[in-house]
């Protein structure tokens, strides 16, 4: 499920990130539902307002492909 939503995001990534850099996008059923200032707002809209089932939507921060950086853990994560 999440892979299909990620594929959809990647198709639109440049267009989305150009207009909404740094915001969080909510995607469900191959549709962009909205843009939010944080994960919290996106999650509440998905679950409390729209009754989306957890595991059936994507919340991702909008950044251009060249600006994507991996998260970093200097210790204790194997």
């Amino acid at each position: 499920m999440i892979e299909a939503l990620l594929d959809f995001y990647k198709e639109k990534q440049v267009e989305i990130a150009r207009d909404h850099q740094g915001e969080f996008v909510l995607i469900h059923s191959s549709k962009i539902i909205g843009f939010y200032p944080g994960v919290r707002e996106a999650y509440l809209d998905a679950v409390e307002e729209r009754n989306f089932e957890p595991g059936h939507f994507l919340i991702r921060q909008c950044v251009l492909p060249e600006d994507e950086v991996p998260l970093t853990f200097y210790s204790r994560l194997g």
């Binding site: 999440i2 999650y43 919340i59 991702r60 998260l71 853990f73 200097y74 210790s75 204790r76």
Partner: protein, 171 residues
């Protein structure tokens, strides 16, 4: 937001690890109408070297969390894929960190059966984190939220770094 805080003494066993008992649960909005889900106990390891909070994979499975995204993470063992989730973390002092992004991973250290959580800078930076060691070798760490500013009682003000410089190896 009301001030909440806690302090804990840490002894080396044999090394200092900043651990505290915490609870974790499925995401829950304390200001919403939904019923509070049950929490499960975990060991929180306060880790300033972690940019984000990590739940050990066993805890992700135990809670039944569903991913909202995927990402790449750099660890000491190289780059790997990880899931991103949303969950709640409950700290001492009735501190609730709600609806925070969680990464899954294999949290190293410890041999007990309680799952481990790396409490990363995303939580630490929400408040004030204070660490000191007395002459008896007891380390005390405190956390308070929301931030009350840079000044802690009985601490000197911030001053420029004065790092002792060691000479290089002798020839």
């Amino acid at each position: 937001m009301e001030l909440s805080a806690f302090s804990k003494l840490i002894k080396p066993k044999p090394f200092y690890v900043l651990e505290s008992n915490i609870g974790i649960s499925l995401p829950w909005n304390p200001h919403g109408k939904g019923e509070r889900p049950p929490s499960i106990p975990a060991i929180g390891i306060w880790d300033t070297g972690a940019t984000h909070t990590v739940f050990d994979r066993s805890l992700i499975e135990k809670l039944g969390l569903k991913a909202v995204d995927r990402t790449s993470v750099n660890t000491s063992k190289g780059r790997q894929d990880a899931g991103i989730y949303v969950a709640n973390v409950y700290l001492s002092g009735n501190i609730i960190i709600d609806l925070i992004r969680i990464i899954d991973g294999v949290v190293l250290g410890g041999d007990d059966e309680t799952g481990k959580v790396l409490i990363g800078m995303d939580i630490i930076s929400k408040g004030d984190f204070f660490l000191s060691t007395n002459p008896q070798g007891q380390m005390k760490f405190s956390f308070r939220i929301p931030s009350q500013g840079h000044d802690f009682p009985n601490l000197p003000p911030v001053s420029p770094d004065s790092v002792v410089q060691f000479p290089g190896p002798r020839n």
